[in-house]
Subunit: 341 residues, 2 copies
DNA sequence: AGTATAATTGGAAGCGCTCTCAATACTCGT
DNA sequence: ACGAGTATTGAGAGCGCTTCCAATTATACT
């Protein structure tokens, strides 16, 4: 039954190849009765048009790529990624695009993948999960190759590139302001890597909130984390020497590690040290955690990224666009706000 | 610079289209000097052959699909998946295949995705992550459509399908025997879902180990889990009423939940209740967990799955093949074996 | 009824590559 | 130096679809 062609359907129905093609592509100018006969034949034979032939003739593959460079190791520790992928996959399903998945592991891979990605006619566009300094190279190469591209997370050098990002500065600002409003004054922070825009931006929000109250930024209260639970744990151990009364962690998973360190030091959350995380992944709401955190709409983020990219592809307009998504502070137990009631 | 064709390269070098094609595909019969000139021209112009045209002419797309049906929700809670995907992605890179990613969310998606997957010429083959009863339908449809397929995890009905699986029965048997050898007699188990082969097989291993020592299987010591941390937690709470002195959890993440429940009940691990998990994901080795567990080579599992599929594709032989991979018991703190020293 | 106009259809030329086949160029043995 | 055998090359016919263009048919309007 396989390997039917358009022609077979045409012959079966008694029309030309062109007409069947029109039906397939939803062209308006086909007589209703003919359209139905064609559709019936397709249905009955289980015909599926050949994707390669279609792509070749129409110069559109209806496939987009997702590149995960540099973040590979995080892909396995940070639940952020599966959620992002979910949003992206959903959008692809709804918009009838296929998603090609590229995990860039090392330098060697970059070459292979780049050549695969830039094979003409294979991808209509590319999503690059990034925000890390080390990804500039590949983003630049993609720009040079004129492959429609949306960076998921603001890239370090964002000129000439379309991207979608969270309002990280403002989100962090809100989180830290919340702690300040609750009376905390020695607020520490476990940042993301300095090499990532996320790390830089969330730290900037922290600094801004302190600055607005004329509080100094104490270097002893700032530690660079790596978005892992272990990283959060060790960072917090280091911070405890400076006797903070609160900590803002740039991710939930680091906040979980931080809480572990605080408990091990014999201190209580939130009484001794208030904690605010970032992400609002399911783990944040777990019964014994109840993390106050910043909710990022990660799934919609992925979804919007695809929409942005497909818009870009449809329009053919190469001028870069930017989308910034809102976040929201979710108040739970670890910041101490609820205990006051 | 883009949209070069084979012909352009041929013209530039002064040879025919065919010769350039031969160079591109590594055919032997090309004069060395010519090959080098062609290669130089390709390098210099940055030419990339059109993937669609290639696929159309050669009837091979060098793309395989990965279908994740039914397990969607687990994809976000169980770190098993990212690791599996890593192995698959790595193999694809090395074997020069592209990976198309399909997350089957609901019934509606199944239709869309199935029609996308079965578009002729788009995929050379498909990997279906499964082992769940609910996936039979899609596996069957794929068989009917004669699309080369490897099921990752043994499917419920495994006739006519190639699959790759772990030695789950034996692994569980080993884990439980280990607990028995340590003198535990009231060994409970938190199984995987009854609807999954993994759930069924690991439970079978548990039963086998007890049987071998003529111990009865006490229904009060068997609870069906769902591979989530919460599920492990609640399952363990239920089990504690039956006063077990050990528990074998069918996944690490459930074991972590179980440990939390044990601690909350004021009991110690391993003194009061020994715990063995399954997976050996990084979390198992975390300082305050030190989980004794069964190591599954998840990354290689994914890798081998791809190898199996591509072999299948190359050979064109549709007769089903099966690969079973070995697991290994990793003894750490939670089973109590180390405390004896 | 007759013409202008619009809707519908078929024909045919590609899209950029692979691959068979026949033609040409080269090798070696005698 | 010549023919058999082998290595190298080019021509050309597709792969299965889209899409422009021209031809045909249906519809509207006078």
């Amino acid at each position: 039954m396989p390997d039917l062609t358009l022609e077979d359907i045409a012959a079966k129905v008694g029309v030309s190849r062109s007409t069947v093609s029109r039906v397939l592509n939803g062209h308006p100018n086909v007589r209703k009765e003919v359209r139905e006969r064609v559709l019936a034949a397709i249905e009955q034979t289980g015909f599926h048009p050949n994707a390669a032939a279609r792509a070749l003739a129409s110069q559109r593959s209806w496939t987009i790529g997702l590149l995960l460079p540099h973040s590979v190791s995080l892909f396995f520790t940070d639940p952020y990624y599966p959620h992002l992928v979910k949003g992206i996959a959903q959008a692809c399903n709804h918009l009838d695009y296929t998603l090609a998945f590229f995990l860039v592991d090392d330098k060697d891979d970059e070459e292979r993948i780049f050549s695969r990605v830039s094979r003409n006619g294979f991808l209509d566009g590319v999503l690059v999960q990034s925000g890390h300094h080390g990804d500039q190279r590949i983003i630049g190469r993609l720009v040079d190759a004129r492959i429609p591209q949306v960076v998921v997370g603001r890239p370090m050098r964002s000129d000439n590139v379309s991207y979608i990002d969270m309002d990280n500065v403002h989100a962090a600002y809100t989180a830290v302001s919340h702690l300040l409003r609750l009376g905390r004054r020695r607020i520490a922070t476990i940042t993301g890597p300095e090499q990532s825009t996320v790390g830089v931006d969330r730290k900037a929000g922290y600094v801004k909130a302190l600055g607005e109250r004329d509080l100094p930024v104490d270097p002893a209260l700032v530690v660079e984390g790596d978005f892992t639970e272990m990283g959060g744990y060790y960072s917090m151990q280091a911070l405890l020497a400076a006797r903070p009364d609160a900590v803002f962690a740039a991710s939930d998973i680091m906040a979980v590690g931080a809480i572990r360190a605080i408990h091990e030091a014999g201190l209580r959350v939130p009484e001794d040290v208030a904690v605010v995380g970032f992400d609002d992944l399911p783990l944040a709401a777990m019964t014994d955690i109840q993390l106050t955190t910043v909710r990022q709409p990660v799934v919609s983020f992925g979804y919007r990224a695809v929409e942005l990219l497909t818009d870009l592809i449809q329009s053919g307009d190469p001028s870069p666009r930017h989308v910034i998504m809102d976040t929201k502070l979710i108040v739970r137990g670890t910041c101490g706000a609820l205990a006051r009631k």
